[in-house]
C-alpha cells in the first residue's frame, strides 16, 4: 500500500526534496485524509485563507475531534502563555503593535537599518573564525551562531551571557526538531529545563531593564507606556521567547538553504560575488524557492467554510503549505527553476495577512549580508555532500549540517 500524502510530508526520507510530494498534493487543492487536517497547497487558496477572518490562529478554537500530527506537545506551552503568533485579534494586534514599537516603523524606522554595521562585524568575525577551509560545517560555524548573536544584541542580552543564552537556544531549537532515535522523555525534560532557565534568565533581565533601561528592545518593551498600556511580565516573557525562537530558527534555515541553492547554481553565486546588490533579489527568490517555513499548521476554522468546492467544517485543523503554493505553476512560470531575475516574486515565504513574518526586515537583511559575504570570501567553495543531512522537522525545514570545502578564505 502506498503511504498517504500526509505521511509522505512528515517522512524524513522526503525531507531533502519534498517538492514532488507537493506537486502530487496540488492535484487536490484541499486535501483531506480521514480524521486528519485539511491540507491546502495551491497559491491562490493559501493566500486567500491567510486573509480570511474566519480562520483562527488560536488553538482554543480547534474542535476536540481535530487530530493533527503536528499539534504541539502540551509541555511547550505549559511554562508560558502563547505568543502573539498563536493569538487572534484583538490580543494579537495589541501585542504585535507593542512589540513593533521598538522594532519598526513608524516609531522605530531605523532600528533594523541601524544594525547594518553590527551585522557586518558579526558576519566578518564568524567567517574569520572558520579555521580549516577543507571541511566547514556551515550550519555549526556560521548560519547557526549568526542569528542568535543578532537576537541577543537586539534584545539587549549582555555579551558575557551570550554563551549561556546560546546553549538554551540550541536545546530549545533541538526540541522543535524531534529526532526519532532520541529518548523523547529525556529530550522533553531537557527542553523543559532549558525553557525554565531561559524564562528565569529573561525575567531577571526584564527586572534589571525596568530599573535601568537601555536602548535595546527588551528595555523598551519593559518600560513602554503607550496607548496600549504596558505588557505584563508574562506577556513580556512569551513575546521575548517568541522573538528568540521564531527569529532565529527560521533565519538559520534561510541562510543554509541559501548557500546550498547557490552552490547548486554556481553561475548565480559568481554573479553575487561580482555584484553584492544581487543579494536582494536572490533572497526574495530563495523565500519562494526554498522557504524555511514550509507550512503553517496552526490554523483552524471558526465556521464551515467552502474552499474550491470542499466544505471545511468548523473547528477543523488546517495546514497551509506555503512551500507548495510558492511552486504553484498556476501562479509562477516555471516554478521549479531558481531564477533571481524573476520580475514578479510575490511569494508566500513570509506568510501574508496579519501574521506575516514580524521579523521579515531583519531576516532579509541578515541573509543578504550572510550570502554576499560568504560568496565574496569563500574561495571556490563546493558541496561535500549533496543532498546534505536534513533536520527531522517538516515545518521548519533545513539541513542539519552543510559540509563545504573551499580553497581558502579571502580577507
Amino acid at each position: 500500500m502506498t503511504q498517504s500524502l500526509l505521511h509522505q510530508i512528515l517522512d524524513h526520507a522526503n525531507r531533502a526534496n519534498p517538492y514532488p510530494i507537493y506537486e502530487q498534493l496540488r492535484k487536490t487543492p484541499v486535501h483531506h485524509e480521514d480524521g486528519g487536517p485539511y491540507v491546502i497547497s495551491t497559491y491562490y487558496e493559501i493566500r486567500s485563507l491567510l486573509h480570511d477572518p474566519r480562520i483562527s490562529s488560536d488553538a482554543r478554537n480547534l474542535a476536540s475531534t481535530a487530530r493533527d500530527p503536528l499539534a504541539e506537545p502540551a509541555r511547550e506551552e505549559s511554562a508560558l502563555p502563547p505568543g502573539f503568533l498563536r493569538l487572534d485579534p484583538p490580543e494579537h494586534d495589541r501585542l504585535r503593535r507593542m512589540t513593533n514599537r521598538p522594532f519598526g516603523p513608524p516609531h522605530s524606522p531605523h532600528r533594523v537599518d541601524g544594525m547594518r554595521g553590527e551585522l557586518h562585524d558579526i558576519v566578518s568575525g564568524l567567517i574569520d573564525g572558520i579555521g580549516d577551509p577543507g571541511r566547514i560545517d556551515l550550519v555549526e560555524q556560521f548560519s547557526y551562531p549568526f542569528p542568535v548573536t543578532v537576537i541577543c544584541r537586539l534584545l539587549g542580552v549582555p555579551r558575557e551571557d551570550e554563551a549561556r543564552f546560546h546553549t538554551w537556544a540550541d536545546t530549545l531549537a533541538a526540541s522543535l526538531d524531534p529526532d526519532p532515535d532520541a529518548d523523547p522523555t529525556e529530550r522533553g525534560k531537557g527542553a523543559h529545563d532549558a525553557r525554565m532557565q531561559l524564562g528565569m534568565y529573561l525575567a531577571g533581565l526584564i527586572e534589571e531593564r525596568r530599573r535601568n533601561p537601555g536602548e535595546d528592545m527588551l528595555s523598551q518593551l519593559a518600560t513602554a507606556k503607550g496607548e496600549d498600556g504596558a505588557m505584563t511580565t508574562m506577556e513580556l516573557l512569551s513575546t521575548a521567547a517568541l522573538l528568540l525562537i521564531a527569529g532565529h530558527e527560521t533565519t538559520v534555515n534561510l541562510i543554509t538553504n541559501g548557500m546550498l541553492t547557490l552552490l547548486r547554481h554556481p553561475d548565480v553565486l559568481q554573479r553575487l560575488r561580482e555584484d553584492p546588490r544581487l543579494a536582494v533579489p536572490i533572497v526574495e527568490e530563495l523565500l519562494r524557492f526554498e522557504p524555511p517555513v514550509q507550512l503553517v499548521p496552526q490554523r483552524t476554522t471558526l465556521a464551515d467554510i467552502e474552499v474550491r468546492g470542499v466544505t471545511i467544517p468548523k473547528g477543523a485543523s488546517l495546514w497551509l503549505v506555503l512551500a507548495s503554493g510558492n511552486r504553484d505553476p498556476q501562479r509562477f512560470e516555471d516554478p521549479d527553476r531558481f531564477d533571481p531575475d524573476r520580475r514578479d516574486i510575490q511569494h508566500l515565504g513570509l506568510g501574508s495577512g496579519i501574521h506575516s513574518c514580524f521579523g521579515a526586515p531583519l531576516a532579509r537583511l541578515e541573509t543578504q549580508f550572510a550570502l554576499s559575504e560568504l560568496a565574496r570570501r569563500l574561495e571556490n567553495p563546493r558541496l561535500l555532500e549533496d543532498p546534505p543531512p536534513y533536520r527531522q522537522n517538516a515545518v521548519l525545514r533545513g539541513p542539519r549540517h552543510l559540509y563545504v570545502s573551499c580553497d581558502g578564505i579571502r580577507p
Binding site: 486567500s48 477572518p53 487572534d88 484583538p90 495577512g353
Partner: protein, 463 residues
C-alpha cells in the same frame, strides 16, 4: 480596422496625443510603448512640471518631510514623447482630429487620450479667494506654497471641508502643533465617502488630536485686513474664527471646460466612456478614437449595476490608463474592460484608512471586526442584501477577503463569525449617508423648455 492592416499602420506611424501629463497620462504613454506603439507620441500638460505623484502633497510635504518639487513619478520605461508642458489644451476639433493649445498651436492625432484630471474647487467668491493666506491644495505648486506658509508658523489654520484632503491637512497641521479649526458643512468628517457611523469616528479622532472641529456649519465669508491678508472667517452659526491661513478643501471639479462645444460627452461630472475607456459623444455614441482615463473619466462598472463611476483614486488612474492605452491600439475583440474594484487609502491622525468597493453606495454598515470605540475596525457596507464596500481603520491586511466578497456579490449581512467580532458588531446598522436629495457642494444641472427645439440645460454652480 478589421484585420486590414490599418491597426499595424497606426502602431507603426500613427500619431497619439495624450492631454494630461500626470499619473494616468504617464502610465498610458508607457503602456503604449510597451505594447509596441512606435509612432509619434505627444504629451500635453498645463503644468510646467513633469508627471508627479500627488499623495505626498497633503501628507509628507506638509509635514516638512518631503519637498513638493521632489515627487516626480518614477519612469517605468522610456516613453520617447514630445512634451508640451506648461501649455493647456483649449479646444478639441473632433472632425479634424486636432487638439488646440493655448499658445495657438494645434496638434493632430489619430488617437487621443484625455487624462486631464480634476482641479481643486476654488473658494466661490473670487475676491475672498484672492486674499493672501487662502489656499487650495491640488497641485505641487499649491502644496509648495502652503508648505512655505506653514513653515513660517501660522497663528491658526482653518480648513474648510473635512473630506479626505481636508482631514489629511488638518492631521499634518496638528502633528506640527499648529492650532487648527475645521469647518464642515456635513454632520461629520468623511461623511460623504464613508457615512455618518464612520464619520463619527473620524470626528472623535480629530477632536482627540486637538482639532477645533465644527460640523453642520458653513463658512459664509472670509475677511481680509487692510493689506489684503486673510484675517478671519465668518461662520453660518454666527461665530467668527480668527485665522491667518485658510485651506479651501471643497472637493474637485473635472477639467472638462476646454471640451465645451467640442461635441464630446464631457461635462461637470467628467467624460462619459464605455468600460473600455472609449469616450462617448454628446449623442451617447461611442467614439473610436478618443479615450479617457483617470479622475476625469466616468465609466460604467459591471459590479455596481453598470453605474457610471468616476473615481479620484490613485489605483484607478493607473488601471484605466493602462486599459485605455491597450485598447486604443488593439482590435475590438482584443480590447479589455475596466473591472478593477475601486480602492483608496488615506493616512490621518496616526490611523491608516483603506477602503475597497464603493462604500458610498451602501445603506447599512456592519462592524465585522474590531470596534468603532478603539478607532480600529473593519466595516462592511451593504446595499440591497449584498456586500458593496468595506472600510478598514488600521485593519488593512484583511481587505483582500472583503474585496472577494464584493467581487462575488456575497450576501449582506455576512452570516459567518470572524476573529475579533465584538458585541457592538453583531448586527448591521444604518450607515447614515447624507440624503442624496439635499444638494452638496456639487453644481446641479436642470433641463428647461417645452419642445425638443427649445429644451435647454441650465447649469447652477455650487454655492
Amino acid at each position: 480596422m478589421l484585420g486590414d492592416g490599418s491597426l499595424e499602420r497606426l502602431k507603426r506611424e500613427g500619431r497619439i496625443v495624450v492631454v494630461g501629463a500626470s499619473l494616468a497620462g504617464l502610465r498610458a504613454a508607457e503602456t503604449l510603448r510597451a505594447e509596441g506603439f512606435v509612432g509619434s507620441l505627444t504629451m500635453i500638460g498645463d503644468e510646467p512640471h513633469e508627471p508627479y505623484d500627488r499623495p505626498p502633497l497633503s501628507k509628507q510635504v506638509l509635514l516638512g518631510r518631503a519637498a513638493a518639487d521632489r515627487t516626480a513619478l518614477p519612469r517605468l520605461r522610456s516613453v520617447d514623447a514630445t512634451w508640451r508642458l506648461g501649455v493647456p489644451a483649449t479646444g478639441l476639433d473632433m472632425a479634424a482630429r486636432r487638439v488646440r493649445l493655448a499658445d495657438g498651436d494645434d496638434v493632430p492625432y489619430d488617437r487621443l487620450l484625455i487624462a486631464t484630471g480634476v482641479r481643486a474647487r476654488p473658494w466661490p467668491r473670487e475676491a475672498e479667494a484672492e486674499l493672501d493666506g487662502v489656499f487650495v491644495l491640488r497641485t505641487a505648486d499649491d502644496s509648495a506654497a502652503l508648505a512655505r506658509r506653514l513653515d513660517a508658523g501660522p497663528k491658526r489654520v482653518l480648513v474648510i471641508g473635512a473630506g479626505f484632503t481636508g482631514s489629511e491637512i488638518a492631521s499634518a497641521c496638528r502633528e506640527r502643533g499648529f492650532p487648527v479649526t475645521v469647518a464642515e458643512r456635513g454632520a461629520a468628517p468623511l461623511v460623504g465617502a464613508l457615512g455618518g457611523v464612520v464619520g463619527a469616528v473620524a470626528a472623535e479622532m480629530q477632536r482627540e488630536h486637538g482639532v477645533d472641529l465644527r460640523c453642520g456649519v458653513m463658512v459664509t465669508a472670509l475677511e481680509g485686513d487692510a493689506s489684503g491678508r486673510v484675517r478671519a472667517a465668518l461662520l453660518s452659526d454666527g461665530s467668527t474664527v480668527e485665522t491667518d491661513v485658510v485651506i479651501v478643501s471643497l472637493g474637485a471639479t473635472r477639467n472638462t471646460g476646454w471640451l465645451a462645444g467640442s461635441g464630446l460627452g464631457a461635462g461637470p461630472r467628467g467624460i462619459a466612456c464605455d468600460a473600455g475607456c472609449r469616450a462617448f459623444d454628446i449623442r451617447g455614441i461611442v467614439t473610436d478614437d478618443i479615450y479617457a482615463a483617470g479622475d476625469v473619466a466616468r465609466c460604467p462598472h459591471p459590479l455596481f449595476g453598470y453605474q457610471f463611476l468616476s473615481l479620484e483614486h490613485w489605483g484607478n488612474a493607473v488601471t484605466q490608463a493602462r486599459i485605455a492605452a491597450h485598447n486604443m491600439i488593439s482590435e475590438s475583440t482584443d480590447r479589455i474592460p475596466h473591472m478593477e474594484v475601486p480602492a483608496f487609502w488615506s493616512s490621518q491622525f496616526g490611523v491608516n484608512i483603506k477602503s475597497v468597493g464603493v462604500p458610498s453606495l451602501g445603506t447599512e454598515i456592519l462592524i465585522s471586526q474590531g470596534s468603532l470605540k478603539d478607532h480600529r475596525f473593519l466595516g462592511v457596507y451593504g446595499y440591497q442584501g449584498r456586500v458593496i464596500g468595506a472600510v478598514a481603520f488600521d485593519h488593512a491586511r484583511w481587505l483582500p477577503f472583503y474585496q472577494e466578497l464584493i467581487e462575488t456579490t456575497a450576501p449582506f449581512p455576512p452570516s459567518f463569525p470572524t476573529v475579533d467580532r465584538r458585541s457592538d458588531g453583531q448586527r448591521p446598522i444604518d450607515a447614515d449617508f447624507p440624503d442624496p436629495s439635499v444638494p452638496t457642494h456639487g453644481p446641479t444641472v436642470t433641463l428647461g423648455g417645452y419642445s425638443p427645439a427649445d429644451r435647454r440645460m441650465t447649469f447652477t454652480p455650487a454655492h
